[in-house]
Subunit: 353 residues, 2 copies
């Protein structure tokens, strides 16, 4: 078996790549939520002075990227690759938003699991010796997502209680290599000075499969995604030989209140109880009085919670080891209108101080 | 600099990953073209007995994947990852088509450059020691692409001469690691026996940036993509210290007749003449009497030409070294309707016997 592969779907990094900078940009609703003060930048104008929602989302990506680069204490040109994506058809926000960075781009799509996918690939690029610094970015925008997947905003459709609210926000992280050397049997890890404090290791990844239990309700994405999240969490625990309590937190992206219950029941049926460690970015990001039904969702949800909150908890040693599992519903307006189900996918990333 | 990185945008693989199996599935028009006999499978029914064009395209991906796995002489479960994407919003063909493979999936989007992107990432995963076997797949379908990007088929719109015809087809390759070892200063490369003949090395990659010269015509994608192709070809030659004649062929994905002229002129203006080595999959795949205007296009175009023709030429030693550059137009119906330009991206892959 490939030397860095472990178990069936995971990688354990011998010389863990380091998240050395992060940036988060959110909209007003997110700024008014319980984590409002954690984010780097809150935009009062949801259109960011752009001509369209899509352009506005792209602008958020660019701002988040610039913040992450700045916080990493590097220059843009030190980045070898950008791994980025969003929810929109043909990755509109990414293609147009990050174009002016003029960096080699791997465009990725994993629905709302994209931050897990982009960090996974960025870590692989860095740890494999292909790059010193890689930027991972993703975003979502309430208005562009509603337009893409559901109804025009002006239609004012009613939202069922299982619906989630797409987060307006973008999160970005800079991942750098940890040049390592074996010396006298003692491992010495050399990391270049960058003058910034953030230093969280990506010690492993567990890459998800598409899981489809036949749920067809685009207003209940928590139910669509929960089985995929459950599969990846089980797989991660098995591949790394860990129990839930080996993690301080097991954090899904945007299952919301409905998906949370399904996930916990699903894992219990497999003999795994994660209730004590469990947290969902979608449940956390808004407070109940913000009229968001089952919680927040979108690529931006887990991305801004990672950049604004999770990494800081690790940095401050409040948590030692976290399993971060962004979750995606593979939904398109076309597949939905054609009567297809909404399969899920999730990608796990192990983060340690 | 990261040890495997060379120049500004390239990677040179120390132990080149090997393309050990390929599969190609095409529609009737492609089967009637000059390369018709090269493809593994030609579908007479463009809908493949499916309920929608999107589902049909997904079925083609699955068939191409199964052919590649079979030709590689491996079992599906030996694959560690699938890196795949398509042109449709939210990668519909990939998500639904490859679901039943039940393999960890990295979904990617690079418009028609996707085969270059997926091979690049598959090679990185394999050479970095993260996987022994990775599958790279992509597809396009004339009917699903027209529906996604332009007009309903029943509308029967006129096509300008600069328009290209989206290839109905899917190509897949299995990439495996070349386990290598240094012994007495002599490099010994061990490759496991798989019982199949295909053995083409991926010796390097050059990853492209988004390039936008402001072209807004979705019926002239050759013009949109040519500058991105030109940039990647220049960069590849510079990063590897090569001249055009160091390649037997420099092969773009789907520039078509208009894009070809722009590319050759663009490169000449930079002092690089590739006319002798140049080939474009889009120009090759159809004959002039097939009413395809400027040529073929779509992710499937370069993918089936790679699987059906290019790899065989290398395998048979007719070509020793090829620069394969799938080219993508970052177009969406929304960005187009909003009056945006169509930026291009291209990803280069160096293939050697």
């Amino acid at each position: 078996m490939a030397k860095k592969a472990i178990g069936k779907q995971s990688v354990s990094f011998e010389h863990p790549p380091i998240i050395c900078g992060a940036g988060s940009v959110v909209g007003q609703k997110e700024a008014e939520g319980p984590y409002g003060t954690c984010f780097d930048l809150a935009e009062e104008d949801p259109k960011l002075d752009a001509d369209s929602w899509e352009e506005a989302e792209g602008k958020m990506q660019k701002k988040a990227a610039e913040l992450a680069i700045d916080h990493a204490g590097i220059k843009k040109d030190q980045l070898r690759y950008v791994v980025a994506g969003d929810l929109l058809g043909q990755l509109m926000a990414t293609s147009f938003g990050l174009m002016s960075l003029e960096l080699p781009l791997f465009g990725v799509y994993g629905a709302c699991s994209t931050m897990g996918e982009s960090i996974s690939l960025a870590a692989v690029l860095v740890e494999g010796g292909f790059a010193d610094y890689v930027l991972a970015v993703t975003s979502s925008h309430f208005a562009s997502a509603e337009k893409q997947f559901r109804f025009p905003l002006g239609y004012g459709n009613q939202r069922p209680r299982a619906a989630t609210w797409t987060v307006t926000g973008s999160g970005a992280v800079v991942i750098r290599s940890a040049c390592a050397e074996e010396e006298d049997g003692v491992e010495k890890v050399f990391v270049e000075e960058t003058g910034k404090k953030l230093c969280v290791k990506v010690t492993g990844i567990t890459t998800g499969k598409v899981v489809d239990l036949g749920v067809k309700d685009s207003m209940n994405m928590g139910a669509c995604m929960a089985p995929a999240a459950g599969e990846v969490i089980c797989r991660n625990l098995e591949d790394f030989g860990r129990k839930p309590e080996d993690y301080d937190k097991i954090i899904t992206g945007d299952l919301g209140l409905v998906g949370k219950d399904i996930l916990i029941d699903y894992l219990r049926s497999k003999g795994v109880d994660i209730e004590k460690q469990y947290m969902d970015c979608g449940i956390e990001i808004y407070s109940e009085d913000q009229n968001i039904q089952a919680g927040g969702s979108g690529c931006g949800c887990s991305a801004v919670m990672l950049a604004g909150h999770i990494l800081k908890q690790l940095e401050e040693n409040k948590w030692k080891r976290v399993l971060f599992v962004p979750t995606g519903a593979l939904l398109s307006q076309v597949s939905f209108n054609e009567g297809n189900s909404v399969p899920g996918i999730a990608h796990g990333v192990v983060l340690e101080k």
